[in-house]
Amino acid sequence: MKKTSAFICLAALGAVSMNAAPLLYDLGTPGSPVRKNFVPLDIKSKVWSSKTKLFVKTNKIVRESGVNRNSGRAEPPLYFNELTCDHIGSKGGADLTFSVPDGRYKVWILTGRAGGDSSQVWDIKVWSGPANAAMTYAGAAEIHAIELDAVARKGQLKLSVSTRSQWIINAIAIIPEKEYARVKKNVLDPEMAELASLPPEILKKWKKMPYKSDIPEPRWSAAEKKQGFAIFSRNWTEPVWPEQFPRKSEIGRAVRAFTSLGESEPMTFSVYPLKNFKRVTLQVKPFVNEKGAALAADAVTARYVRYAWVRPNYNMTGFYYRVPEVLMPWSERSLKAGEPLRIWLSIDTKVHTEPGIYRSTALLDIDGQKVNVPLTLRVLPFRLVKNPHVIFAQYYDHPYKKAARAKDDFSRQWWEKRAEYEHAHMRDSGHEGITGSIWFTRDRRSGKLILNFDAMQKQIDLMRKYGMGKFPIPCGMGTSSLYAYYMKGALMGSHITRVKMPPKKFFEDFTAITQLIENEARRRGWPELLYYPIDEPSSQTNSVEFMVEILKAIKKVPGVRTYVTANPAASAYAPMKPYVDVWSCQPFSIPKKQAEADMKRRPGLEYWSYPNHNSGENDHTLSIGTRMTYGFGLWQSGFKVLIPWIYSVTRHDQWNNLDSGTSDFGVRTAPDGRPIPTPLWEAYREGIDDGKYLFTLESLIATANERGFKKEAAAAQRDLDLIKKNIFIQERYRDKELWGADTFDAYRWLLAENIMKLNTLLY
């Protein structure tokens, strides 16, 4: 109360203000800290009338990090401030009545950062007359502001709150319409900016490292200066950084793409604003070909690229910078001078689309200035074939785990629906599998084995529903729990660095449990399980010795295969080699010839890669390297499976990459549980498509040779060999020593031309 500033409410707790002034309430318990510029509003206030019981919760404001007992790493707390440390909520509806002068208002409501249960899905809808705003979000940390229009009549402004699960409110601002822009800019936006990064006292210890672009400012044309912006087009694999100028050659560059039947293609262009603009709207006209035929109405998905603060490395703290990170569903935008807005269209063609050149226009309205951006899509007359011998999969934190813990039906169904959306998304992007796990332990007192097959069954049922049922599943095991049982509660440490050799009984039990799992898997007709006892064992002698013994214990079960995440090229792991069936490592560390020879020599042996350098674990912007890894790079690697960690990882708030000991990355989630992709995800998909172009042509060359078209087959093979020769083979493809972005498309076009020639010849 003491900190209440002059310009905020005069009408707290139902008192009437004669002049319309902004009212800013910090909701919570009486006596809890109150945010500067806000006044307290507690559960006993007269503004409330609720049929269901309201609840209030307070979280401690802590700045000191704790320590993860297993890894020994520092773990920051969930950061609260005076505004977010407490909230009022309910499982039912509630009405609020504020005494204010009559007039038009904007209502701003802060909801989230509840603390506690990460499986809870929060749902809030606020009405004021016919106007409403809603938000749904999951977990303990996410926080959102929702806004709605409201009208006060007879000295009262009424709000009604409803929910499908539970709602919470941290703060409410009721602002006269005319005051809204000023209050938003001076108070509300800075509050949201702080909540999207770190508390100021923590952030000041971090160093900002802005991206340094070497693109000079172009000479703006008179028209660009007059209109205050320029439209430019850059290949989608190259990021458009905040505060980066367009290249001269990119301004006015045609926006176009080509696609096979049934493929999805990105098409992007950007607006570089020379001054601020309040409102940008976008409308994409239908794509129509020369004969007047149009692509399906749902063929175009419009998104924009969201900039976000990130750190340079997954678990590094102390440094941060801003990157283009997530492909948000399109909504009206504002423009800030010098910060480009990238618009990202995904164009999906159906398999029966008529080939030809399709044209469309993206209509931009920038504060009333109308801009037409021509779009061209060439639809090619063939379908792509995927190489059945390579597989794309994902490490996956299954939403079913949260669904099982959810305390209300809405939350449970939200997690289940989210899992469905994510499986469909993976399937539609060319992914064929996910990881799984069967957790087990023994009861400390009785020694009884605790093991749950039904959770895995449910996951496999869902995989099968989305066509992922053939993938051999790397199956995590309850090794650490069983180890703790036999070693009196001891921890194995991060990457089993602290592991000590357990008694023989532990390994005998491990064999018996593996046999039990395998019997059940076969009885239930599951896909093959790859037994995956430890993730990323260290190369320390104690770790390797333990790994040898546990792999031996698994291999005592006839016919099963083991899965190890370690680099087969590292000599320290040599003792494990006889017992490892699937090596999964980050780089393509085994040369193609050796990988193929090894796999031929020992049936069952496979080399997989989890290319985390491309997943966003560290750098969120390496689209070009990711495309290379997934397409041309994999083609020349000899590896069989790409399975990066991880589809999506949320630590605290999915929209705040700085607020936890490790960064969020990967696909994000919309309020309805649908996935929100990233440019890196699109690079996976496009790389997979590059691989399909390669395999389609290889298959046609084989057929042409079989049918005696030797000369034509040889000509196509020469082009394939040219591409092969020009690849800068690397163990890890990032953003160096790679083709320019346009060459990926040029080579794809070279493949397409050959595919069309051979198709004409053969069919």
Binding site: F258, S539, Q540, A572, W739, A746
Partner: protein
């Protein structure tokens, strides 16, 4: 210590500039880098070796791999040694490498007790501003002398080198292994005239819809000579017909650049881009393929 002292004296004598006319390189030897007391080894040891590389003094760094000893918190650690001279107020090795094109040294690696280690990864780092520049010395443990040539253009801030050194991660080695690194013949080099050291074509294939080809040029030589630019010629590969001939403005170091081709209305085919086309000893060529436009459908 006596040996080290002697080496310091020698180093002073060799901190000189020599010009090798035939290679068109000017060279400054940095023998004072081969003085053991100027290095700070950790979990390892350094001494002056008996051997010489090219008549120049050689450091011998020995890193025994011990997964149980070393720093208490990280028993599987990082044996390392860094050159401490840059932290002195008047270092004997210049901090500013901006006017040089290359930092070079010779290195010989020997690994004992870990015969299956095919990589033998060793890092050499040069620190200036963030990020530091790392050079991998892996797969060089064949007992032969390897020349390490580091383009100064790769270093973030070559005007102020703050540190350099060798390190290994013990986790990449078997416990009980021993790595010996011999390094010497440290020197800075610069070209005496504008030279294209390397040209990398980033767009070995483009379509007729693309308006430029992209390449990375690594240019060395005195700034005044570089400022005159590099003559280039674009020609049809099969016929040799010259399509464009002019001077490309360049800068010292490594730069990505675009050459616009849209005004040439090139036909699909193979084309050669040649730099210094009339200087046989300096000539460098790359070939790119121009494909038809995907957006022009043949009727």
């Amino acid at each position: 210590m006596k040996e080290n002292f002697a080496a310091v004296l020698l180093a002073g004598a060799f901190l000189s500039t020599a010009v090798f006319a035939e290679e068109k390189f000017e060279c400054q030897f940095l023998d004072s880098m081969a003085v053991p007391r100027r290095w700070s080894p950790a979990e390892s040891s350094v001494s002056l070796d008996d051997v010489k590389f090219n008549g120049r003094p050689v450091l011998k760094w020995v890193a025994p791999v011990d997964h149980f000893a070393g720093e208490k918190k990280y028993p599987v650690g990082w044996p390392r040694m860094y050159f401490t001279d840059f932290s002195r107020s008047k270092p004997v090795v210049p901090r500013n490498w901006q006017d040089w094109d290359y930092f070079e040294f010779d290195v010989k690696l020997q690994l004992e007790g870990d015969p299956q280690n095919i990589n033998c990864p060793v890092s050499f780092v040069i620190a200036s501003s963030q990020p530091s520049y790392y050079v991998s010395l892996k797969k060089r443990h064949d007992g032969k002398i390897h020349r390490i040539k580091i383009p100064v253009a790769k270093i973030t801030n070559p005007r102020r080198i703050t540190n350099l050194g060798f390190s290994i991660s013990e986790s990449k080695y078997k416990h009980g292994a021993k790595l010996t690194v011999q390094a010497g013949n440290f020197r800075l080099l610069r070209s005496t005239e504008c030279t294209v050291e390397k040209v990398t074509l980033l767009t070995p294939a483009v379509t007729a819809s693309d308006n430029a080809i992209k390449l990375v040029l690594h240019v060395s030589g005195p700034a005044s000579d570089v400022a005159r630019g590099v003559p280039f010629r674009l020609s049809e590969m099969r016929s040799g017909k010259i399509l464009r001939q002019e001077t490309l403005p360049v800068q010292r170091g490594e730069r990505e650049m675009e050459i616009e081709i849209d005004e040439l209305n090139l036909r699909p085919g193979d084309y050669t881009l040649t730099l210094f086309p009339d200087r046989k000893e300096k000539k460098k060529s790359v070939v790119f393929k121009l494909l038809s436009s995907p957006y022009k459908v043949k009727k």
